[in-house]
């Protein structure tokens, strides 16, 4: 049963996207590349594993049993490529047990049972995955297939630990659109009206010398000169100074982001930093106050003083009000998701399901993040006050908060492209440490730096989608696809920690962007219920119902926040949506496009007719006018 979902999201549009992108990769070339290695195999088995461009089969183990927790054991062939682990049952009737798992999701591999193991299926390997599942395979002791496949798996699943390149650097599929063009920092800043009187674009960090985890292009208060920026960088942890994330189109209230100030136990101050914060406040003429939202619980913020960090004191920063948002750190979140995995996989205990969810605290954390973002939105939108957001380093919780608040405030980010821009900007360019948090190709599975921070943010976005089903141009499918390829290492998008590293490794030229893949088949992700705010011109008749909202303010209450079963419980066949809702969604999207085209054509006809009528003089002159 597993095949259904894993391959649906990772590979089923594979053939479609192939067709969409290029026809040069027909089935002949594929089978021939396989034939050269496995010529002895019959052709229908060959057709079964679909290799990507640049993918090669590296190891095969026969007579392996996949122990599916839901449909039971099934015998078959296990293949390992440089991209995926592929299992195909020998029995044609149990093809639903086919597995196709990108090796990027593998977090650890263990041998189960030794030479002395007795009992059926007790000797084999277990693969622990980052996407909330484990896979068990049983090997026959007598044919010694385990060792070879285990070593191949170790090597290919953790290439970085074996000095090998990630698959993204071998993957060579070409798409009609280049996803690396989606985000241009200057274009995005210009969209928000920068440069303007108050904000300017600076390339002071062009060589990543001021801050190596920040992007090369920043928007800073126009009144702040480069010297000031340099001195502020010295007072902020890792040089992550406050820079612009978003600016309100009418009130000019801003969201800025940074890391914690280096206050330390002695309570150090920096006149420059204080002045710079004042400049951010002055850039917004509407308010005489600035909110500093510290994402951490206040206890953690105080504890950070011992490590040289801390928080802004309200005495030093006049007109600034400090708020702690009480969001816990990456370790707490990792532990919470681990508990959730225990609850969701493999079997679900129905009698304690809800109290189990409560005990993981996952939804409580989601609630805290949503509530924090709502506070930011409230200050910016309703009080026209600028908000500065930071946590400790400003690349985990800060990114969650700013990206979420921007999503609530700006309908542009709720479009398919805008969402990609948002991720590129707030997460990738501002240096969320994807490599460290996900551990791509790295075998140190218990590394304390790993944490599902980004997945948690995607969950928050999903909560927004649930509360505002018409506000997003895309569906949950896009979110799941993003999460899948966050781990898969097929695309270069989520590799490395910072923009600087990506530039150094030439990710843009050597790998394919996830957005190339997604944007070449946009119709798969469109939401038929989407109600774009721009669809409401002044000529639209007033609706008796509400208009589409520009600003989304979700309810951050556990009564409304739900568990994202389509993500966390998707391997369990009993937890899946049973309707072919995806099919229906696509039908509706197509139908809607048809109707819109027809309406536009009709409107055009109407306008033309009006135009003609206006030109021709009235045929009968009214006697009154004579």
């Amino acid at each position: 049963m597993d095949k259904h979902n894993s391959s649906e999201l990772l590979n089923s549009d594979f053939s479609l996207s192939k067709n969409a992108s290029s026809d040069s990769l027909d089935s002949d070339s594929k089978s021939s590349s396989l034939n050269s290695k496995h010529g002895q195999e019959s052709s229908h088995i060959l057709g079964d594993i679909q290799l990507l461009d640049g993918e090669k089969v590296m190891g095969v183990a026969r007579d392996v049993t996949y122990l599916c927790p839901y449909s039971g054991p099934s015998r078959g062939v296990l293949k390992v490529t440089n991209y995926q682990l592929h299992f195909r049952p020998t029995d044609v009737t149990s093809l639903q047990a086919t597995l196709s798992v990108p090796l990027g999701v593998v977090s650890r591999i263990e041998k189960v049972g030794g030479a002395s193991s007795k009992g059926e299926n007790s000797y084999g390997i277990e693969v622990f995955c980052k996407d909330m599942r484990n896979l068990r395979f049983a090997h026959k002791q007598e044919n010694h297939s385990r060792r070879g496949i285990f070593e191949k798996l170790q090597q290919l699943a953790f290439p970085l630990s074996h000095r090998l390149p990630l698959f993204a650097f071998s993957y060579s599929e070409s798409f009609t659109e280049d996803g690396w063009q989606v985000y241009e920092p200057v274009v995005e800043l210009r969209r928000m009206g920068v440069n303007n009187d108050m904000w300017r674009i600076t390339r002071i960090n062009d060589k990543y010398e001021i801050c190596d985890s920040y992007p090369s292009v920043w928007a800073v208060p126009a009144a702040a000169n480069d010297d000031l920026l340099r001195s502020v960088a010295a007072f902020r942890s890792r040089g992550r100074i406050p820079v612009l994330a978003w600016i309100h189109p009418s009130s000019q209230a801003t969201i800025t982001r940074c890391s914690q100030p280096l206050v330390g136990v002695s309570g150090k101050r920096s006149r420059e930093d204080e002045r710079y914060i004042q400049l951010i406040m002055d850039a917004n003429a509407q308010a005489h106050k600035l909110f500093i939202m510290d994402a951490r619980p206040s206890a953690n913020a105080i504890a950070n003083k011992a490590k040289g960090g801390g928080y802004e004191s309200e005495d030093a920063y006049q007109n600034a009000e400090l708020v702690f948002l009480d969001i816990h750190n990456i370790h707490v979140m990792r532990e919470s998701l681990r508990k959730l995995k225990e609850l969701c996989f493999p079997q679900i205990d129905q009698t304690r399901w809800f109290s189990g969810i409560e005990a993981t605290c996952w939804l409580k954390h989601i609630k805290c993040i949503l509530a924090g973002a709502v506070r930011i939105v409230d200050k910016v939108e309703n009080h026209k006050t600028s908000v500065l957001v930071h946590c400790s380093d400003g690349w985990d919780r800060t990114a969650q908060l700013t990206a979420l608040a921007m999503l609530m405030l700006d309908p542009y980010y709720r479009t398919l492209r805008g969402f990609q821009v948002l991720i590129e900007k707030e997460w990738l360019s501002f240096g969320h440490k994807f490599q460290l948090r996900i551990g791509h190709g790295d075998e140190r599975h218990s590394d304390a730096d790993r944490s599902p921070v980004f997945v948690q943010w995607v969950d928050c976005v999903w909560q927004l989608q649930q509360q505002f089903p018409t506000a997003f141009e895309f569906t949950e499918r896009l979110l799941i696809t993003i999460v899948d390829h966050l781990y898969s290492c097929r695309f270069g998008t989520f590799l490395f920690n910072t923009e600087r590293e990506r530039a150094k490794e030439e990710v843009k030229t050597k790998t394919v962007s996830l957005w190339s893949y997604i944007n070449s088949r946009q119709d798969l992700y469109l939401n038929p219920l989407y109600w774009a705010p721009s669809a409401f011109g002044p000529n639209t008749p007033p609706s008796p119902y509400a208009r589409p909202q520009t600003v989304l303010v979700p309810v951050a209450s556990l009564r409304i926040i739900k568990l994202w079963k389509a993500l966390y419980c998707r391997w369990n066949p009993t937890m899946r949506q049973q309707d072919p809702i995806f099919q229906r969604t696509r039908e509706l999207v197509a139908l809607r496009a048809q109707l819109e085209a027809a309406a536009a054509a009709a409107a055009g006809d109407h306008a033309a007719r009006q135009h003609r009528l206006a030109l021709t003089p009235p045929r009968v002159a009214s006697p009154h006018h004579v």
Partner: protein, 509 residues
Amino acid sequence: MMNEKKLVQNFKSYINVSPVSNGEKNGSVHDLKPKLLNGEMIVGGAHSVVMLTPLSENERGRFGALFVTNYKLSFVPIDTSVNDEYGQRNNLLGVFDVPLTCVGALWLTDGGTTRRRRLMPRTDIPAKLKGIQLVCKNMKVLSFNFVNSPLGTGRQVVMALLHHAFPKRHDLLFAFEYREQYYPTLPSDMNMFLRPADWKRELERCECPHWRITCINGTSDAFMLTAGETLIVPKSVLDYNLMESARHFRSGRVPVWVWGRAEGAALLRSGELLPTELSATAESVLLEQVRRSHPKLTPPYVIYLCGNSYTNSSSTNVLPSLALLNASYKKLADLCTPNTLSQFWMQDSQYYSILESSRWLRYVCNCIVFADDAARHITDNVTVVLQEGDGVDYCAVVSCVTQLLLDPYFRTISGFQSLIQKEWLALGHPFCDRFGLPRPGSSKDEVEKAPPSQVAPVFLLFLDCVWQLQSQFPAASSQEPLHAGGCCAQSSLTVNCNRDLQFILDLVN
């Protein structure tokens, strides 16, 4: 009374404003009138009332007039806002209207949200009334403040409310006063299950030739007093046998046909056996007749919804007694009707464990599991007989859900209405008892003598099951048999069903 706090857009505080400044004696406040239905009349009212914003700690609200009619409690705000139109619109009720039968509890307050004392019929009410709070059966909580209203009018409203919201006799319900013209707008494919011909239509639609219609229950020999006159029984069974066997079933509920397939499998529902000596024999005789009505002569499969009283198999997954169901619903309602903001957040932090401990979702889940089991057997061409208590509560729930799973027709609007007509009205669900309304025909004396009726939200349980199916199958309107993943984890919570319930109630009456 309160500090002037910063107010958010749409809400104006009237608490601190003196009544004089809010319009003179002949001001607009006095011209407010509720929208009345035909046959509806105002029995009490108060001007210059403030309806407090739910869960507002700083006592914001809206200004207007409050009326009690013989049908509803109606608040008419002085200023209408676009935001009032949200959710489902309703032709009988406005946004701020509550039908009187929907009023659950009435509390005397300090004018804000702090409850002072529960008001029961015939309690005395102070003339200087600061405010009241209503907890409705549909989980709405309304608070009104009378501080600005003319002295005594608040009391008048409360008296009218107490008098009319808890009627003593069935014929005092508004449905008997309602004088709306009848428009014959029923869709042609809807089946009301009123006449034998309607049942014949259903038999023909299902292509079930091995069953027959009997009208014995419409004669003086009626044995199933809570059901309509038409019953469908195995072709081979004689009316006389039915009457005989009925003595061994609770409420005379012998197994009757409700739905079937052309292949032969049928769905039947019945009451529990009485502990008489010959009841087991009577049951097996009837089940044998059911078997003969199957073209393949397959023996039927009996599902004991509340456990089998004979084998006493204590399965954990049986449905609870009605009293337990009601208690469960009360817990759920408590969770959904927080009184103050602090209570809201207190419950919120433990929302999931409170929800679980209410067991409501477990019961919803059990119903769906039973229905899924029944549907699987019927798909395998095995006839299913549902058996439970008086055969009018869970039987109806499970039978309906089974049919929704199996028959796409019932997933259309008119099909769904037909289903309710068949299972809940024609086969007699005791709506009045379950809603806690006085039974028809009973006078005041009789009411006091009769055993207390069992209040339980069985119909709501059914609607919740349907909602769960809807959320599991959002696009299923006309597809092949569905298989419900009957598990608690799939369920979530529905809240606003009770309004539909009130409609049904009106229809019944």
